[in-house]
Assembly symmetry: none
Homo-oligomer: 212 residues x 2
């Protein structure tokens, strides 16, 4: 019985690298490659892979939304998030959305194999650095900072706004009304006591929600 894998990343070289790595394992086969979240969901529905590897930052449909939809469309597929963000809030969001593994791209690539093996055994998997982060949070009693009271949409909108995206850009990406985006943006700003997109961007960089 061969293991079927779906690989999703917007960088072609990462797809190629993952494919080479995974197919070097006996009995593993990459049945589909996707460069965006929408295609990943469609391909998962079609091929029913055992494990789907998803980047978090994806064009069109991000890793969070893709995870949600994939869990619905193909419940037998375990989702492994493979990303560069070691951010507690992001981790919580995707795990709640149904992902069972979370792996950082800075880890050794042997971790990818370990992660897929764990998910095939129906066990959750976290890369060492992520485990550290989760442990810190656990030990510190899960402190409720302002950013933790933000909803997923609110956190996402902050990141996108702080990347320079306009409300219209985000609305197109999410396939919702500009008004909806504005609502999330406004709600986030109210919670954080911010009063303009500029302040929002500064908040994001100061709190490491985006890279400097």
């Amino acid at each position: 019985m061969t293991v079927k894998l779906l690989v999703t990343d917007d960088h072609a070289i990462v797809r190629r690298g993952l494919q080479a790595l995974l197919e070097a394992q006996g009995g593993w086969h990459v049945c589909a490659l996707a460069d965006n979240g929408r295609a990943a969901v469609n391909l998962a529905t079609e091929h029913r892979p055992d494990v789907a590897i998803l980047d978090y930052s994806l064009p069109g449909l991000n890793g969070l939304e893709a995870t949600r939809q994939m869990r619905l469309a193909s419940p037998g597929t375990e989702v492994l998030i493979y990303t560069m963000h070691n951010n507690e809030d992001v981790i919580r969001d995707v795990l709640r959305a149904g992902a069972r593994g979370y792996l950082l791209k800075t880890e050794d690539d042997a971790e990818v194999v370990r992660a897929v093996q764990a998910l095939l055994r129906k066990q959750p998997y976290f890369s060492p650095q992520v485990a550290e982060t989760l442990l810190d949070t656990f030990l510190s009693g899960g402190k409720v900072v302002a950013s933790q009271t933000l909803s997923s949409r609110e956190r996402e909108v902050i990141q996108l706004v702080a990347e320079g995206k306009s409300n219209r850009d985000i609305a197109d990406r999410w396939q919702v009304s500009v008004k909806t985006v504005e609502s999330h943006r406004t709600a986030a700003m109210r919670k954080l006591n911010l009063h303009s997109g500029v302040e929002l961007a500064l908040y994001a960089v100061r709190n490491k929600l985006i890279e400097p």
Copy 2:
């Protein structure tokens, strides 16, 4: 005569992907892999590769500094920057530092091969998306020294906007019309090729115009 290549990236999977891709080309050999800028310079000095592929965001020594030092330590090595940043300033900086190729990770991976081929022929190479960016800059008058040609009012307005001040705040502080402030702001944004207050704020933090 085999071609010697150096691959540098902080993500193991990207290194693996590049290695698999490049060694599939006849006569090409990846003689060294590095996960940071310092190691890349040392390995280039030792192995004298024909082409070095460098990420821009690297721990320790970033792609810019690594390029400079590598050009000094191994002048025969052509440097190809392989990164996710389609940013005009970054492109200009690394090209001035001696890089001869600039390729985005979002491009098809066949572009990597084309880029290396070009550099082996001692020709510069830019990926399609980067060429677009450079062309836009060229057509818009090549305002490459924009940051130096900002007037004092323009620099001031950038700092104030990036501190979260609104145009009205600044107008009150300066005792001029809001329209005047907007003009300076717009002029600064035009020179810097920015298109919103958020982008202006990000520019300011990235260029250390304000404290983190």
